[in-house]
Structures are given as structure tokens and as C-alpha cells.
């Protein structure tokens, strides 16, 4: 009888152990292969100067891709680059997606609507191109989100053309931010001297790297999967 009692006690111990193991293993199974969830924040700058407005359909495609990729808790903002971009008024739409998936979907629909309205209503481009001001505005927004991964997408030819009196010739602090230049088109004078194109890219790369950020160029928009690292 004592043996049976011992056995029953042992069985109970085993059962407790099994339950704990099941709990842990199921937990591990649930989290298997998943890295800790990281929040992402993306700020997209769209060049609206000159003939670059013709590229807006591509920008809309990128925005749709971002909307489909980003999840609850992520932040997204869209702003235009015009003559003086260091301005909140240039932000066309911004959102931090709700923790509830259904609400996040509604926010995405609203965001998409804003983007469509912007692209359809934009007729004339700005006279100047203040990319640095836009980047500074983006840095402010991204730092406020306190996201784990911060990205600035610059949809521009990277040719800065500042109005007279605007000062942008100073280092920018992009520490912890990845700056991605998208669809950097070649200008007419680039065809005359291709080194201008390279110099333009190199100058921006140097500026970003010196500011503590990371720099990437993606001209092939068919490979949008490389745009934002999927978690």
C-alpha cells in the first residue's frame, strides 16, 4: 500500500512537472522563431518640386506597400518636400496604428484616402526643394515615436534647391535612423556628366553617416520587400 501511495505521490509530481513543461513548451512553441516584437516608425518625404510630381504614382505604390507591411503599434507619416519643408504643415498624413487590428485597419484606410487625395489634388510643383528641412522634420517625428526601428524614406532626386536666405548647411543628427533614398532619378545634367549624380548621392551618404545614421539607395521599386525590414 505504501508503494502505491508513493507511486501516486510520484505521479502527482510527474503531472505537475508535465503541466509546467507543457506550459513552457507551448509558450516556446508560440514564440518559436519570433524575435521580440519591435515597433517601427517610417517617415516618407515626397519631392513635389518641378517635374518630380510625375513620379507621384510610384510614391503612392510605396505608401500602399508600407500600409500593408506595418502593423499595430507602428507609426507612419507622409510629408512633402517643398520650398520650406521644416514645417508641420507639410505633413500630409500621420498615424500610429492602434493596438487593435480592426482599428489599425480603419486607420490605414483613412491614411490611404489622405494619400490619394494628396496625389490627385497636387497639380503644380514647388519652386524650390528643401530636402534637409524635410529630413529635420522627419527626425523630430521619429524621435517622438520612440520606435525601435526608425526609417526616413526620401522619394526625391536629392537635388536640393533652397530659397535664398534658408540655412541648411550644417550637420544633421540622424543617430539610430536609417535614411533610404528612393527612386533617385537622373537629371539632364547628370547625363552630361554622370559624376554629378554620384557626387550628389555621395554627399548625402556622407552627411547621413556623419550624423550617425545609415544610408541606403533603392532605385528598383520592384524590390519593395527590401524597403522595410520585416519583423
Amino acid at each position: 500500500m505504501k508503494l502505491v501511495t508513493d507511486s501516486a505521490r510520484l505521479s502527482r509530481h510527474i503531472m505537475t512537472l508535465l503541466l509546467i513543461t507543457a506550459l513552457l513548451s507551448t509558450g516556446l512553441l508560440a514564440g518559436c522563431g519570433e524575435s521580440p516584437v519591435k515597433s517601427r516608425a517610417v517617415y516618407m518625404l515626397i519631392d513635389t518640386s518641378g517635374t518630380y510630381t510625375e513620379q507621384l504614382d510610384k510614391a503612392e505604390t510605396i505608401m500602399n506597400y508600407l500600409l500593408a507591411t506595418l502593423d499595430s503599434g507602428d507609426s507612419l507619416a507622409l510629408a512633402r518636400i517643398d520650398s520650406a519643408s521644416f514645417n508641420e504643415e507639410d505633413i500630409i498624413a500621420k498615424a500610429t496604428f492602434d493596438i487593435r487590428p480592426s482599428t489599425a485597419n480603419d486607420q490605414k484606410r483613412l491614411f490611404q484616402h489622405h494619400v490619394q487625395t494628396f496625389t490627385s489634388e497636387l497639380v503644380r510643383g514647388s519652386a524650390h526643394t528643401d530636402i534637409t528641412g524635410g529630413v529635420l522634420q522627419a527626425i523630430d517625428f521619429l524621435n517622438e515615436t520612440d520606435a525601435d526601428e526608425k526609417t526616413i524614406l526620401v522619394f526625391s532626386d536629392l537635388e536640393e534647391d533652397l530659397p535664398e536666405g534658408h540655412v541648411r548647411d550644417f550637420p544633421i543628427d540622424v543617430a539610430g535612423i536609417e535614411v533610404v533614398a528612393l527612386n533617385v532619378t537622373k537629371l539632364t545634367r547628370d547625363n552630361i556628366d554622370p559624376r554629378d549624380y554620384e557626387n550628389r548621392l555621395n554627399a548625402w551618404q556622407k552627411r547621413v553617416m556623419e550624423g550617425g545614421g545609415q544610408w541606403r539607395v533603392i532605385n528598383d521599386l520592384e524590390r519593395l520587400d527590401r524597403l522595410v525590414a520585416m519583423n
Partner: protein, 509 residues
């Protein structure tokens, strides 16, 4: 440093190395006896220690085996007792159900027999047979007509009277016969009643006989277990292993079901607790879904425990019936509520998936397509969400079998490991002993030159004096055989102890 040591005797490295070698060989030769003793002692010590360890492990293995067997037998005895008790309960139920009515059955039988007997008696009372008046009538008819009309009339009257009387008697006889047939006809239902009643009794007795045979079988098994027979132990072990694998298989199936359940409710849970909060690397929504599933399993465990199907929690098993019934109601209610919640979550999951698909289509620039028969997967998911918790509740049954059989399987595994360790220790001891012997031989190999010289000198010193040969040889043998004798003695004392290395014999010519 090495270079300095190499050239300490001469600038030529070769000469210096040769000197070092000579010195080394000399030192080794001088310390040969001590070195051999060292090897021998070390080998023996390692061998003895490992053999001791091996024996201890084997003893532990024997104790564990015995304990495993005792536990297995005790469990088997308990199971057998329960099985026998169950059979007796069944017999008791059978007797109470069928044979409890035996007095009324007996009364029915007695009544039927009594009625049959009465009918038989009634049928045996035959009516008086008609007298043989037909002969009288024939005789009177055959009489020649007399001339006397009065006589003829008398005879005719007699004849008519006789014929009337005959007819009446015949009618009475026929009536009596009909009545007798009536009585006999009444006996038919009584016979059928008798036959049916006897059939019932036969069925009951057959069932009782079958139960008795089963009890006999169980008693034989119980007796075998009580006698601690090997056959019973093997049978119990085999049964335990079978239980282990079958219940393990069912548990794997249940785990798969749990995984599907998890997938059903993980997404909609993010709508409740949010999809961004995490604990470690796990999303809060996943943890919440997991907790719901585990609560369902726990409720299932308590429900089956309250129903006394499983016996994992003695506290629940020992509750009084009223409390147990309350617990059944509570657990079943909670399980139903959880199943309903899961069904609604599954439906919400479907809605969320639809919403997400519509958004993706919108973002991709294609029109939103309304899928036909979309309600089928929706209902399917809801039904799955409702049924899976109840299905998971039954995991308690294989879990109990698994836990009970795990004790035996773990015992077997530990016994196997202990046996392997014992063999490995024994092997390591032997290897160490033989390695020491090999080292001793290698030692001699290094100093083979001085040993050869020694052998030559001894040979020369003993060769001229033949008379001393015997003495010398004897002395030598006495000297050399001493360790061998010791070794033999030691070997004879304990056959398993390795012999002392008899190196002197090898160098002696």
C-alpha cells in the same frame, strides 16, 4: 629555454641530445623498479576503484529494478483488486436486477404450474361414455315384426326412447370433449409463460456464469501478482509500455488539437488585449490565448475527476457526492462558457481575416471581391471553436495513463542507464589496468639497451660455473618468482584483481 637545454653539454645539438638521452636512459634504468611499482599500483588502484564503483552502480541498479518491480506489482495488484471489485459489483447488480425478482418469478412459475395442473385435472374428467345402446337398437330393429300391433308399438317406443337417449348421451359426450379441449387450449399460454420465464432464468444464469469466469481469470491474475511471479511482472511491464505509447500518441494528437485551437483564438485575442504588448519574446495576445486553452484543459481535468473517470486529484475524488455534483455543474458550466467564448473568438478571427484581406486588396489596387459561400468557413470555425475545448477536456484520460505508465518507463530508462554506467566503469577499469601494463612495457622498451647489457653480464657471470648454475638459477628463480608467487597468491585470493606485474622475469635471461 629548450635550445639552451639542448646545447648545455655541447655546441652540437646532436651530441648534446645524445648525452641527454644517455642520462635519461640511465636515470630510467636506475628507477625501473620504482617505476614498475608505480605503474602496477596505479593500475591496480584505478581498476579496484572503478570496479568498486561499478559494483555500487550495479547494486543501485538491482535495488532500483526491485523497487520498479515492487511498484509495478503494487500497481498491478491495486488494478486487479479494482477489476475484481468491479466484476463483483456487476455480479451484484445482475443479481439485484434479475434474481431479486426471483420470488415473484417463482410465484409466476408456481401459478402457471398450478393452472396447468388444474387444467390437466379438468381435462381428465371425461364424460360418461355412451352405453352400447346401438346394439340394443339394432337388435330391436332386427326383431321380426309381430302380428301384435301393441307389441310393435311398444318396441317402436323402446327404440325411439333408446335412440333419443343415445343422441342425448352423444351430445353430452361431445360437449364434455369440447370442454376438455377448451381446458387443454387454456394450457398453451401457461406453457409459453413457463418457457419464457425459464428462458429468462437461463439468460441470467449464463450471464452470471460468464461473470464468474471473468472473476476466475482476474483472480488467477491477482494470485499470480501476489505470488510475485515473473510472468505477471512481464505482463504488467508490457501493459505499462503499451499504455505509455498509446497515451503518448493520443497526447500528441491532443497537442495538435491545442495548436489548432491556439491558432483560432490568437489573432482575435489581439483585438482584446492588444497586439503590441509583449512579455519577453511572447505577444500578450498569444499568452492570453494560451492561458484560455490551459484553463479549458484544467476544467476538463476537474470535470473528469469529479465524474470519477480519472483519479489524479485525491481531494476531488474524496469529496462527498453532493459537493462532487456541484463541482461537475460548475466545471461543465465554465467549460461551456469558455467554449462559447472560443466560438465567438473564432468568428471574430474570420471577420478580422476578411477585413485584412479587403484592406490588402484595396492597397494592392484591385477591387474587393466578395467570395461566395464565405459563410461555410465562418460556421466551420465557430463550430471548431466550440467543440475543441470539449475535445481537449478529454485529454485528462490519456494524461492519467501517461503519467502512471511514465513511472515504469522512467524506471526502466534509469535502470538501463545504470547498467550502461556499470559496464562503462568496468571497462574503464580494465582499460586503465591494461594501460599501466603497456606503460611498463614501454618503459622497458626505452631502457632496453642497459637491460640488454645487464642480461649479458648476468649470463656471462653465470655461464662458466655450471655447478653454480642450478644454485644461481634457483636463487634467481627464488628472487624472480617472489613477485610472481605474490601475484599468484593475490590472484588466487581474488580472481578479479589484476596480477602484479612480473617484470623481473622478463629481463631475466
Amino acid at each position: 629555454m629548450f635550445q639552451q637545454l639542448l646545447t648545455v653539454w655541447s655546441d652540437s645539438a646532436a651530441i648534446s641530445a645524445a648525452i641527454w638521452l644517455v642520462l635519461l636512459v640511465t636515470v630510467l634504468y636506475l628507477g625501473r623498479q620504482q617505476a614498475h611499482h608505480l605503474f602496477s599500483t596505479t593500475g591496480r588502484a584505478v581498476f579496484t576503484a572503478l570496479r568498486l564503483a561499478s559494483r555500487s552502480v550495479l547494486k543501485l541498479e538491482h535495488r532500483l529494478s526491485q523497487r520498479n518491480r515492487d511498484v509495478l506489482m503494487a500497481l498491478g495488484r491495486t488494478a486487479s483488486e479494482k477489476a475484481i471489485e468491479r466484476e463483483f459489483t456487476r455480479v451484484s447488480t445482475l443479481v439485484a436486477r434479475d434474481l431479486a425478482h426471483y420470488p415473484s418469478l417463482h410465484r409466476t412459475l408456481a401459478d402457471a404450474i398450478e393452472k396447468i395442473e388444474a387444467d390437466y385435472q379438468a381435462s381428465s374428467l371425461s364424460a360418461p361414455l355412451p352405453p352400447a345402446w346401438s346394439d340394443v337398437v339394432d337388435t330391436i330393429s332386427a326383431l321380426p315384426k309381430s302380428a301384435d300391433p301393441a307389441l310393435n308399438k311398444i318396441l317402436d317406443n323402446i327404440k325411439d326412447a333408446i335412440e333419443d337417449s343415445h343422441e342425448e348421451t352423444l351430445k353430452a359426450f361431445q360437449k364434455a370433449t369440447l370442454e376438455r379441449h377448451g381446458h387443454l387450449a387454456k394450457m398453451h399460454p401457461q406453457w409459453r409463460t413457463l418457457k419464457t420465464t425459464m428462458g429468462k432464468v437461463e439468460t441470467t444464469l449464463d450471464s452470471l456464469e460468464e461473470r464468474t469466469r471473468m472473476i476466475d481469470g482476474q483472480m488467477d491474475r491477482y494470485e499470480s501478482i501476489r505470488n510475485n511471479e515473473d510472468a505477471a511482472a512481464n505482463s504488467l511491464l508490457s501493459s505499462s509500455l503499451t499504455q505509455f505509447f498509446i497515451s503518448g500518441l493520443v497526447l500528441i494528437i491532443a497537442a495538435m488539437g491545442g495548436l489548432i485551437n491556439f491558432q483560432l483564438i490568437a489573432l482575435p485575442m489581439s483585438e482584446m488585449v492588444g497586439g503590441t504588448a509583449t512579455i519577453g519574446s511572447l505577444r500578450m495576445s498569444d499568452i492570453a490565448a494560451l492561458v484560455i486553452i490551459l484553463i479549458e484543459i484544467a476544467m476538463g481535468l476537474f470535470l473528469l475527476e469529479s465524474l470519477r473517470i480519472t483519479h489524479l486529484f485525491p481531494v476531488i475524488g474524496s469529496m462527498d457526492d453532493r459537493m462532487r455534483q456541484r463541482m461537475i455543474v460548475v466545471t461543465l458550466t465554465l467549460l461551456t462558457i469558455l467554449a462559447t467564448i472560443e466560438a465567438s473568438l473564432a468568428y471574430m478571427r474570420d471577420l478580422l481575416a476578411l477585413d485584412r484581406a479587403a484592406l490588402q486588396q484595396s492597397l494592392a489596387g484591385v477591387g474587393v471581391v466578395e467570395a461566395q459561400f464565405r459563410w461555410i468557413p465562418s460556421i466551420g470555425q465557430m463550430v471548431m471553436g466550440f467543440i475543441l475545448p470539449f475535445a481537449l477536456a478529454f485529454v485528462a484520460i490519456p494524461l492519467e495513463s501517461f503519467i502512471h505508465s511514465l513511472r515504469s518507463v522512467l524506471g526502466m530508462i534509469v535502470v538501463g542507464v545504470l547498467r550502461t554506467v556499470a559496464v562503462a566503469l568496468r571497462l574503464a577499469g580494465n582499460l586503465a589496468s591494461h594501460a599501466c601494463k603497456i606503460l611498463a612495457h614501454l618503459y622497458d622498451l626505452i631502457i632496453m639497451v642497459p637491460l640488454g647489457v645487464e642480461r649479458l653480464i648476468r649470463h656471462r657471470s653465470t655461464a662458466p660455473d655450471l655447478s653454480d648454475t642450478t644454485t644461481a638459477a634457483k636463487t634467481k628463480n627464488d628472487t624472480d618468482d617472489a613477485p610472481a608467487t605474490t601475484a599468484k597468491t593475490k590472484r588466487s585470493r581474488s580472481t578479479k584483481v589484476e596480477p602484479v606485474l612480473t617484470d623481473t622475469q622478463e629481463v631475466t635471461p
